[in-house]
């Protein structure tokens, strides 16, 4: 019975999915449009409930023969992904209802399925469970990316969602194969698939090779260089509310896996994985910032910006100690609200045929001051300007890396972050300083979308003014993970 308590979050998400399925199947066929909308609100309410419950239900302990752990680390990451899903659901509600009124249930089911994978991932302490959950997270995302397949874009061309999904898929499937290969080598050499067992196993060349291959596989999910090339195309082609979710949630799950595998389970092998990780971080910051500069499509711009942000957070992972892991969590939390909000604002501003280019932002301050204000907060947070939460996130990440001795990377990070300022401010310039002639439609956010944006804005500003509680929570969650001495197998 206590096993059920430990597994409460995955069970809750699965239960919500079943509920959605039942409602969708049993609803009268002539009311599918209304039912679909109701389903969307149901999902949002269920996720909100799960999020709230995570603060009172204590799921600590092991379950499923020790392969799942429900402690503080797991709970923190679960809250992040559930929160991201909640915001993504609110943001996508009207979009889904407008696009495919008769098949909304599918969207919600796929979203919840992916979420199920995401809530299991941080708790997985066995590689089999981990890879299954990881794939469970990824496969529905391929389908969801293609959701807008029947759209027409601004200039009448057909939607490129199919292409977006295809690129996501091809790189993803190849990475899965790589990951599986690496896992095979790793578990084969170590003789066990449990993470605790792996920590105790000696380092062998093949095992190290396996581990690094796994790094490659995870790197794809988080958009790390050189596994990043799908990011701008997928962000451009898929439906923007979905991209908002895609740009944050898998990254949270992927980075939590990275931290889990490399800092806790295999921390003793730090000498092996630090240089590639550091190089990947450096390249991500460089490539992301550099290639964002010439972008005029906001979705691609935010895509490259996300790659750069991943570079920053990898610095904290590379630090390899408790503070590094804690600051990774804090950064991820800040990143979720910031990036999701930014994409939702882009989506809101693109309504009525305005498109997603920089010129869609012209005159935003006048036509939709609330959206412009939210955009300001999110971009300042991404750029790392006080006092949005992104400032604290960057600061703490750089501090953690500095403390761990990665001085060169920190300096590079600061320099490259300055580049970021340029393209973020260019968007703000378009929104605040350039006005447009002509009468294009005023951007408007529906209630659900507006609510999601408002929640993100409140979080960015609130946490920016008062980050202390979140920092504390992240530190507490990471203590759970990092063993100060040689890893001890848990009983």
């Amino acid at each position: 019975m206590s096993e059920l308590r430990v597994l409460w979050m995955p069970l809750a998400v699965a239960g919500l999915a079943v509920l959605v399925l039942l409602v969708d199947v049993l609803a009268p066929p002539d009311r599918t449009a209304r039912t679909g909308r109701a389903l969307g609100w149901l999902v949002a309410a269920g996720l909100a409930g799960a999020l709230g419950a995570s603060f009172s239900v204590d799921g600590s302990g092991r379950a499923a023969l020790g392969t799942y752990d429900g402690g503080a680390w797991t709970t923190f990451v679960q809250r992040l992904v559930v929160g991201a899903a909640l915001l993504g659901a609110l943001g996508a509600l009207d979009d889904v209802a407008a696009r495919t009124p008769k098949r909304q249930g599918e969207y919600w089911l796929l979203l919840l399925a992916s979420l199920l994978g995401m809530v299991i991932v941080p708790g997985a302490r066995d590689l089999v469970l981990l890879v299954v959950a990881f794939e469970l997270m990824g496969i529905p995302l391929y389908v969801l990316a293609a959701y807008a397949k029947n759209d027409r874009t601004v200039d009448g061309a057909q939607s490129r969602a199919g292409e977006a999904a295809f690129k996501l898929y091809v790189v993803g499937a190849a990475s899965t194969a790589v990951t599986l290969f690496g896992l095979a080598l790793l578990t084969g050499m170590a003789g066990t698939s449990s993470l605790d067992g792996l920590a105790e196993a000696p380092a062998t060349p093949l095992g190290t090779l396996g581990m690094l291959l796994v790094l490659g596989g995870i790197g794809y999910k988080i958009g790390m260089v050189p596994f990043h090339m799908w990011v701008p195309d997928t962000y451009e082609g898929a439906a923007t509310p979905f991209v908002a979710f895609l740009s944050v949630a898998p990254k949270v799950a992927g980075l939590s896996v990275l931290a889990l595998l490399f800092v806790s389970g295999l921390g003793v092998h730090r000498g092996a994985w630090l240089p590639p990780l550091g190089l990947a971080a450096l390249l991500s910051m460089g490539v992301g910032n550099l290639l964002a500069l010439p972008q005029t499509d906001l979705r691609r711009l935010l895509g490259y910006s996300g790659i750069a942000q991943m570079g920053y957070v990898l610095l904290a992972v590379a630090a390899g100690d408790a503070m590094g892991v804690g600051m990774t969590l804090f950064f991820l939390a800040a990143y979720v609200v910031t990036n999701l909000g930014a994409f939702l604002v882009v989506h809101a501003a693109s309504g009525g045929g305005r498109g997603h280019g920089l010129d869609a932002m012209h005159g935003l301050f006048r036509r939709a001051p609330f959206l412009a204000l939210a955009l300001l907060a999110f971009l300042l947070s991404l750029a790392g300007i006080p006092f949005a939460v992104g400032f604290w996130a960057k600061l703490y990440v750089l501090l953690a890396a500095w403390r761990a001795g990665l001085a060169g990377l920190v300096v590079a990070g600061i320099v490259l972050a300055v580049l970021g300022l340029f393209y973020y401010l260019r968007v703000l310039q378009a929104a605040y300083m350039i006005d447009e002639e002509g009468e294009r439609a005023t951007p408007r956010a529906s209630p659900a979308l507006g609510l999601a944006i408002a929640l993100c804005l409140a979080a960015v500003v609130g946490l920016g003014l008062w980050p202390a509680p979140l920092v504390d929570a992240a530190s507490r969650a990471s203590v759970d993970l990092v063993h100060p001495s040689a890893p001890v197998a848990r009983r």
């Binding site: 295809f166 499937a173 003789g191 698939s193």
Partner: protein, 99 residues
């Protein structure tokens, strides 16, 4: 036959699959190549299982097969989508977004 030669075979399979992924122009061929790469991994699982003993290798291989199947199903659906869009399934047709 030793463990080493099994692993080498798996590596060779992986590379063949990789080559196919990179060189072929038809989407279905690309999907086949991905399958090949995944099966190379399965071979490694099974090889270790055989030479090390224990059930882990087999178990993992079964899971791996199941995951790959799910993935390929989605991949085929996406291939269908692109085929319906363009009337052909060459990968160049799915490269409108760039830079």
């Amino acid at each position: 036959m030793s463990l080493a030669s099994c692993l080498l075979l798996a590596a060779a399979l992986f590379c063949v699959g990789l080559y196919g992924l990179l060189a072929r122009r038809q989407i279905v061929a690309i999907l086949l190549s991905i399958e090949l790469m995944a099966n190379a991994a399965n071979l490694v699982f099974v090889a270790f299982g055989h030479y090390r003993g224990g059930a882990l290798g087999q178990v993992f291989a079964v899971f791996s097969i199941a995951l790959t199947v799910a993935e390929v199903a989605v991949g085929l659906a996406l291939a269908m989508l692109l085929y319906r869009r363009h009337g052909d399934s060459r990968v160049e047709l799915a490269s409108e977004m760039k830079r």
